[in-house]
């Protein structure tokens, strides 16, 4: 059950030039949170809340990691330890975390919810994380500490392999029989991952993004198109969907 709570900020950190991390005193929200779920975060002066994934949760605390995109995230980035932030959560349906060998595929800030998945997955976890360049890479060390194997790709080759996640993804799928793939990142990356997963016949789950108003399923604002032509609510039916059901063409 989602709850609304005014949380105190316990830690605030700048990770990369436009990327921040906040640790919130989130009480019950932290205790019931599941990987892939998100918070609707109030950004002072903005009418609508902003959806931000739960990057880690435990012992009454939640960590969120976000990139400055516009006004809302800019305001959030100015928050300091001791300030408070009003959130609703945990929201949505997250990642399935059972399975013997799980492959996580993240692009950019999409690595954030996958970290929580990596921590909670019961089996062996491998990850492939793609970034623009080394100075926009987040959470690299913590991923290394919880995953059996982590591959990095960057568009400029400054960290790991040069290029997108596709190359290492195909190689891993050829080497290992995964129970499932969990992915989060920009839409073009998700489309590519879904396609490759289907080729290899590995069940794949993707976390989708859409602009939101209510965040709880009431306004039908956050439509995600499905292969059958219907629209599902990213906030309530997702954000995690089975990749085989999502329509990626626009």
């Amino acid at each position: 059950m989602p709850i609304q709570k005014t949380c105190t900020i316990l830690r605030s950190e700048r990770l990369i030039p436009y990327g921040y991390s906040l640790v919130l005193d989130a009480g019950e929200i932290a205790d019931t949170a599941h990987p892939g779920q998100f918070l609707q975060v109030q950004c002072d002066g903005q009418f609508l809340r902003r959806p931000i994934s739960i990057c880690d949760a435990g012992a009454g605390r939640i960590r969120i990691v976000f990139e400055i995109k516009g006004k809302g995230t800019q305001i959030l980035a100015k928050k300091r330890v001791g300030d408070s932030v009003d959130v609703i959560g945990p929201l949505g349906h997250g990642f399935p975390i059972h399975g013997e060998t799980v492959l996580l595929v993240g692009g950019g800030i999409g690595a954030a919810p996958l970290f929580f998945a990596a921590r909670r997955c019961l089996g062996t976890v491998h990850a492939i994380l793609g970034f623009r360049s080394a100075n926009t890479a987040v959470l690299t060390e913590v991923f290394r500490s919880v995953c059996r194997q982590v591959d990095f790709t960057t568009e400029d080759g400054s960290l790991g392999e040069s290029g997108f996640v596709d190359g290492p993804l195909r190689r891993r799928l050829e080497e290992t029989k995964y129970t499932r793939i969990l992915a989060c990142g920009p839409q073009p990356m998700l489309r590519a991952v879904a396609k490759i997963a289907a080729e290899f016949n590995v069940p794949c789950f993707v976390s989708m993004e859409e602009r939101m108003a209510c965040g709880v399923g009431a306004c039908l604002g956050c439509a995600c198109k499905m292969k059958d032509g219907s629209y599902q609510r990213v906030c309530h039916d997702g954000p995690v969907f089975s990749a085989s059901e999502v329509s990626f063409d626009d």
């Binding site: 059950m1 989602p2 709850i3 609304q4 109030q42 903005q46 009418f47 609508l48 809340r49 006004k71 809302g72 609703i88 859409e210 602009r211 939101m212 108003a213 209510c214 965040g215 709880v216 399923g217 009431a218 306004c219 039908l220 604002g221 956050c222 439509a223 995600c224 198109k225 032509g229 219907s230 629209y231 309530h236 626009d250």
Partner: protein, 316 residues
């Protein structure tokens, strides 16, 4: 003792706080936050004869003091509502107002018949949706078509009261209000969203896939207050006032302008408990001002007498 009860066109509301159509789904989601029986009434998401998929995303945009939406009346269809949503809603002690949209005048009649047969507490005719191509807004922009839809609804609604939801996207809202009152409307709800647009300057694309959408939230409050005030001067049927309400004070303003009950819409998105805060805010205002019954607030504004030549003289 503060008495929040209102008799709204024959429907007994335990308090004047209603939740606005399209902002509250069919109640399930906000029912997880509090007991829906705390509300006066729930206006359900706009219903159409057949189910509708709605518009492609993005459907939402932030605006100064509010938001744009272009959902496009996504709904399970009236039969789906009756089969799957109504029984669930009925488990709560709250009045149910069915909001309906037709493509033709006849469709409004059929919708009324179906919903009157299952005894919803009230019908709300949406003749003002800016987000669908056919019907919707088209009926709400001329007094003749608004009256035709109202009359057809009345013929098919049996004893269920019919409320007509007015569009602010018109030059003369008063003439439309009068036309629907004359056609037999039992109440008026106002206002629906104002047509708006936002453009992403980096991509030069409208933010909404539908290009335009409906503006709601605090930004539209003064427009809604003015319109409720003007319509109250011209009609005697009850008015459900809405547009940007987030606090009890906002609601009192609507009541003073001439509303008999009020609806909370987009504010739900910001704060799931907004309707309850609004209700409690109205009660505290009444206590502080020694007002025992909420219906005494309606139309309580004391407008200034128009200033004459002297004002203009001072200006020149």
């Amino acid at each position: 003792m503060t008495d929040l009860h209102v008799n709204f066109a024959g429907v007994s509301l335990k308090n004047p706080v209603v939740v606005a159509s399209g902002t509250f789904g069919f109640g399930r989601e906000y029912g997880a936050f509090y007991d829906l029986s705390e509300l006066g009434a729930i206006c359900v998401k706009g219903l159409t004869l057949s189910q509708r998929a709605g518009n492609p995303p993005p459907r939402i945009a932030e605006t100064p003091g509010g938001m744009l939406n272009a959902v496009g009346l996504q709904n399970p269809g009236v039969d789906g509502f009756i089969a799957r949503e109504l029984p669930e809603l009925r488990r709560h002690d709250v009045k149910i107002i069915a909001n309906i949209s037709g493509n033709t005048v006849e469709e409004y009649g059929i919708l009324c018949q179906k919903l009157a047969a299952v005894s919803v507490d009230m019908l709300e005719l949406n003749i003002s949706c800016p987000n669908v191509k056919e019907g919707g807004l088209a009926f709400g922009t001329s007094p003749q078509s608004a009256a035709a839809v109202t009359a057809e609804a009345k013929r098919n609604a049996g004893t269920v009261p019919v409320m007509v939801k007015l569009s602010p996207n018109v030059t003369d809202i008063v003439s439309i209000a009068k036309a629907v009152e004359d056609a037999g409307a039992d109440a008026i709800s106002m206002i629906n969203t104002l047509l708006g647009m936002r453009i992403d300057i980096h991509t030069r694309r409208p933010v909404l896939r539908n290009n335009t959408g409906g503006l709601s939230g605090p930004a539209i409050l003064p427009i809604a207050i003015r319109m409720v005030y003007q319509v109250r001067q011209a009609v005697s049927i009850p008015i459900l006032g809405m547009g940007g309400i987030t606090t009890g004070e906002d609601a009192v303003e609507f009541l003073l302008a001439g509303a008999n009950a009020i609806a909370v819409g987009s504010a739900n998105f910001q704060n799931p408990y907004a309707p309850l805060l609004v209700r409690d805010g109205i009660a505290s205002y009444m206590q502080e001002n020694g007002i025992s019954r909420v219906d005494r607030l309606t139309n309580g504004v004391q407008t200034w007498t128009p200033c004459r030549a002297s004002c203009e003289e001072e200006l020149t």
